[in-house]
Subunit: 499 residues, 2 copies
C-alpha cells in the first residue's frame, strides 16, 4: 500500500552536493563530530523499521549545544534538510535518513542532569535511555511511568518526538502527560524553552505540540519529566480464554467495573505460543487468548481490585485465572509480553507490525475483522494489544523471499488500518507515522486538515527542512495516493473521525 | 501596570460600520440570533473581570452549527473580528468584546449529547455548565474532575478555552488532561475535529493547542470529556498554623511524603477571617494560615493517608489538625474556600485577584515577598492558594474611590507577577491571559518566542480576526510596553524561564 518513496513528492529540492555541504560544515564544526565515509554512514541507514534504508549524506554527532546551534544555522543557510535520530529504535521510520540530508545523532547527549525528589522531577539530556531515568530515580522510591517495550534501549528525546506509550499508559498516560518542560533548538539555531517547572504555562501549549512532532518542529536538547512514587505493590493476573472475542469483551468489562489497571494487555494464540517458545513465561499455549492485568497501589486496595477483576474475568468466560505467585513470576509474565515481537520474529522470516488505535468497545469487532483478513489472504497474524487503551499491534507474518508476499502483507496491513479508522480509531497509537504511514495520513485526514498541520509546521520551520517526508504528507503526495485510492474505490469514509 | 487599551496596538483596522455589518449578517441569519440595540448589548459589555467594559458592535446568539458557519464566513469575508463568549465567568477579560467586533455568545448550545458509562466519556455542547456534567454522570458513579470555583456557572467551552483548573487539578489534571476531543468551526467557517475517542491521534497535537487558546484559534462547538469514577470516600483535614511560611513549607512536605492529595489548599489570615465571616465554615479565625488537605480513594487507603498527612502537618508545626467529622462538615470546609473571593469582596470596596503559578518549593519565599509588598504599599492582601500545584491567588484590596489606590494595586499586582516569573513560575495559572495580562506576556516571553505564537495563530486564523488583542500580545504592543519597562529599569531577568 505504500507508494515507493519519492523525495520529490515531499517538495524537497536539494541544491548542494555532499562535498559542498561537508566543506561548509567542517569550517565551523570539529572533525570528530562529522561522519562522511560510506562505512561510517552505513550503520545509520535505518532505524527500527529496517524495510526502509537510506544512507545519509552526512552524519553529525555533536557534543555541545553550541555545535547544534552552528549545525542548524549552517543547514538553514544552505537549505540542507536535517533528520534527528535518538537511539534508532523507532518502528515507523521516523529517523530514516535522507540521501541529500544531514542525520543529526543525539547519542552524545546522555547525561542525567538532575533528580529532584521533592519536586518529583528528572531533568535529563535527550539521549538518556528511558529505563535509565527510572534507575536513577529508584533510590528515592520514584520512577518514570511511560515504558515502551524498547525501554532498555530507547531514549527520552525519541520518546517525546514519538509521544511514546507503553504497557502502563492506560493508567499513567502517554509521554505528553509525563513531560513538564523541553528545551529545543530551532532550525534557525535559536534556543527555546517550552513548558515550565510550574504546573501551567501561559500562551499556546507548544510543549504538547512537540510531543509526537517526530522531529519536524525543532531539535530537543533537554527534557524535564515527572517522576511518580513506586506503587507499594503490583500484582498481575493472567486469564485464559477459549475465544479471542470473549477476551476483547472482558477488557471493556474490567474498565466498566471501575478499575483502571496499571497494565491491561492481550495476546492471541499465535503470540502466546511464540512468546512461550522464546521466554518460557508459563503461558497457557492451548488458550486462544490471554489477558494480563496488572493492579498496583496500596496493598489492601490491590487485593480488593484483584478479587473484583477475577470475578469480572470469570463472568466474561475465562477458562482459567492465575495470579503471579511472587515478583519473579510477575516479571516472567511481563517478559513474555515485552518480548512478543522478537518472539514472533522467530516464527516467520518477516513480519509487519501494525499500530492502530481503536475505541475499547470495538476490540471484538476489529479482532474478528483481522481474523477474516488473515484467512482471506492466507497470512498468519499474531495479535499483541495494549488492550486497555485500545492500542493494537497485529503482527502480519510473511516471507519476503516468496514473490508477492510482501505486497500481500502490505495490503492486509492497509486494510487493518482502514478498519481501525472506520470504527473511529486512528492509524497509529504509539509508533508514530514516520515514513511508514505517511500515505495512510491521507486516508485519516482531509486536505484542509493537512493544510493546518502544514501551517503549524511552517510556524517553526518555514523552509520545511526538519525531517521532510515524515509524519505530515504534502498535499502533492496525497493527491498521488488519493488517485490510487479512487481507482481502487477506497475513498475515505465520510464519517471518519478527523484530526 | 496595564497600558490603557488601544486597539491600534493589536493591529486591528476595522473597516465597516455597525449598520453595514448588521445588514450583511441579517441577509443570512435569523433576526432573533442577532442583537444590536444598545440595551440588548449592554449586558455583554464585560465578563468576570468587570474593570474592563466595552459594548460590542453586535451580539450573535446562534442556535445551530450552520448559523455559526454562516456567521464565520461572513465575518471572514468582511474582516470583522469575532470574540467568543461562554458563560462570561472568566477572570482575565478573555471574553471582553470589541467595539468594532461581533460577540458570539454560545449559551444556546447547552445540551448534554451523550453520557457513555462504558467508555467513561461525556459528549456535550460548549454551553453546558461544568457542574451539570458531573450531575448527569452521577447516576453512573462517575464525575468530571476539573472543578473551577465557578463550576456552578462556568461552561465547558470556556473551560477548554482557558484550560481551567480547580481544587482537584493537582491529582486529576487541568482541563487539557481531561478532554478527549473537540469539534470546532474555523474562522473560515469550516468544521474540524481535534483529538479522537481513541487514546492517541496521529499528527500534531492540535487538541492540546486548543486548550488554553482563549478563543484565538477557532469556535468550540462540541467537547468530549473523560469521566472518572467517584472516589469511594473523601476526607478532609484542616491544619492551622501560626506562621504562613510554615504552612507553605508543609505543602512541600506532604508531597515529599509520597501523597498526592485530591485537593491541597491554603488560605492566610485575612482570607480565613473573610470566609468565616461570610460562610461560618468553622475556620480558626486566630490562625495565620490554614491548609485544607483532601484525601480520596478507597477507604483503607484514605485512612492510612490521613494518618500520614496528620503526622507531616504536626511535624511541620501545625498548631491544630482537625478532620471533618462527616460529609456535611467536609462540604462546609470547602464552601469556605470556594467562596473566598466573594468573601474578600465584603471586606473591601474593590479587590484585584492575581493568578500566578510558582514551583511548589518557592511558596514560602513568594509568601514573604507578598507580605513585604503589602506592607510597603499599605494595601491589604488576602492569599488563597491552590497550594499543591503552586497556583497562587493573592487578592489585593483597595478602594477605587480613593485617588491613586487603583494604580497602587496594579503596581503591587505587577510586582507579584514579576516575583512569580523570577522564581521560575508563570504569570497565570488557571485564569488565562485574556485582556488583563496581555502586557505581562511581554515580560514572560522574548520577541522571537512571541513570533512563534503568532505564527501558530496564523496557521488557524491568518487574518487575525479571532479574539484579537487577547492572550498573545503583538510585537508592537510589547515594544510600547518594553519601552516603559526600560524606562523603569525593569527589563526581563536574563534567566527567566521562557514559554
Amino acid at each position: 500500500m505504500n507508494i515507493l518513496y519519492d523525495e520529490r513528492l515531499d517538495g524537497l529540492l536539494p541544491t548542494l552536493d555532499k562535498a559542498q555541504v561537508r566543506e561548509r560544515l567542517t569550517q565551523t564544526l570539529p572533525d570528530m563530530t562529522l561522519l562522511h565515509r560510506e562505512e561510517d554512514l552505513r550503520p545509520f541507514e535505518c532505524d527500527g523499521l529496517s524495510v526502509y534504508r537510506v544512507v545519509p549524506m552526512l552524519v553529525a554527532m555533536p557534543d555541545t549545544l553550541a555545535q547544534i546551534e552552528t549545525l542548524m544555522k549552517t543547514c538553514y543557510e544552505l537549505q540542507v534538510p536535517v533528520v534527528t535520530r535518538g537511539a534508532g529504535t523507532g518502528l515507523s521510520g521516523g529517523a530514516l535518513p535522507l540521501e541529500k540530508g544531514v542525520l543529526l545523532v543525539m547519542t552524545r547527549f546522555a547525561k542525567i542532569l538532575d533528580i529532584d525528589p521533592d519536586a518529583r522531577t528528572a531533568r535529563v539530556q535527550p539521549g538518556v535511555r528511558n529505563l535509565a531515568i527510572s534507575e536513577a530515580a529508584a533510590p528515592y522510591g520514584l520512577y518514570y511511568a511511560p515504558d515502551p517495550s524498547s525501554q532498555i534501549a530507547c531514549s527520552i528525546g525519541g520518546n517525546v518526538a514519538e509521544n511514546a506509550g507503553g504497557v502502563h499508559c492506560l493508567k499513567y498516560g502517554l509521554t505528553v502527560h509525563n513531560v513538564l518542560e523541553v528545551q529545543v533548538i530551532t532550525i534557525e539555531g535559536e534556543r527555546m524553552t517550552l513548558g515550565s517547572a510550574a504546573f501551567d504555562a501561559p500562551g499556546f501549549d507548544l510543549l504538547a505540540l512537540f510531543n509526537g512532532s517526530e522531529g519536524m518542529l525543532g531539535i530537543i536538547t533537554e527534557v524535564t519529566v515527572k517522576l511518580l512514587p513506586k506503587p507499594e505493590v503490583a500484582k498481575v493476573l493472567m486469564a485464559s480464554f477459549d475465544d479471542v472475542e470473549k477476551a476483547g469483551k472482558a477488557v471493556g468489562d474490567i474498565i466498566a467495573a471501575g478499575i483502571i489497571p496499571g497494565g491491561l494487555e492481550m495476546m492471541d494464540k499465535l503470540a502466546i505460543q511464540a512468546a512461550e517458545d522464546f521466554i518460557q513465561a508459563g503461558y497457557p499455549v492451548e488458550a486462544e487468548a490471554i489477558l494480563l492485568c496488572e493492579l498496583d497501589g496500596v496493598e489492601a486496595d490491590v487485593n480488593d481490585d484483584c478479587a473484583t477483576v477475577r470475578g469480572v474475568l470469570e463472568r466474561a468466560g475465562a477458562t482459567e485465572v492465575r495470579q503471579a505467585r511472587d515478583e519473579a513470576e510477575r516479571a516472567l509474565f511481563w517478559a513474555g509480553r515485552k518480548n512478543a515481537f522478537p518472539a514472533v520474529g522467530r516464527l516467520s522470516p518477516d513480519y509487519y507490525c501494525m499500530d492502530g488505535t481503536i475505541p475499547r468497545r470495538e476490540l471484538p469487532r476489529v479482532l474478528k475483522g483481522i481474523a477474516e483478513l488473515s484467512q482471506e489472504y492466507g497470512l498468519r497474524v499474531a495479535n499483541v494489544f495494549h488492550a486497555g487503551d485500545g492500542n493494537t499491534h497485529p503482527l502480519i507474518m510473511f516471507d519476503a523471499n516468496q514473490p508477492g508476499e510482501l505486497e500481500k502483507a502490505e495490503t492486509v496491513g492497509g486494510k487493518i488500518l482502514e478498519l481501525c479508522v472506520e470504527v473511529g480509531g486512528s492509524i497509529t497509537g504509539e509508533h508514530g507515522v514516520g515514513r511508514e504511514k505517511i500515505n495512510q495520513m491521507c486516508v485519516q485526514f482531509q486536505p484542509d486538515e493537512l493544510a493546518v498541520f502544514h501551517a503549524v509546521k511552517a510556524a517553526f520551520d518555514e523552509k520545511g527542512l526538519l525531517n521532510p517526508g515524515k509524519n505530515i504528507p504534502t498535499l502533492h503526495r496525497c493527491a498521488e495516493f488519493g488517485a490510487m485510492h479512487v481507482h481502487k474505490g477506497q475513498l475515505p469514509h465520510p464519517e471518519l473521525p478527523r484530526f
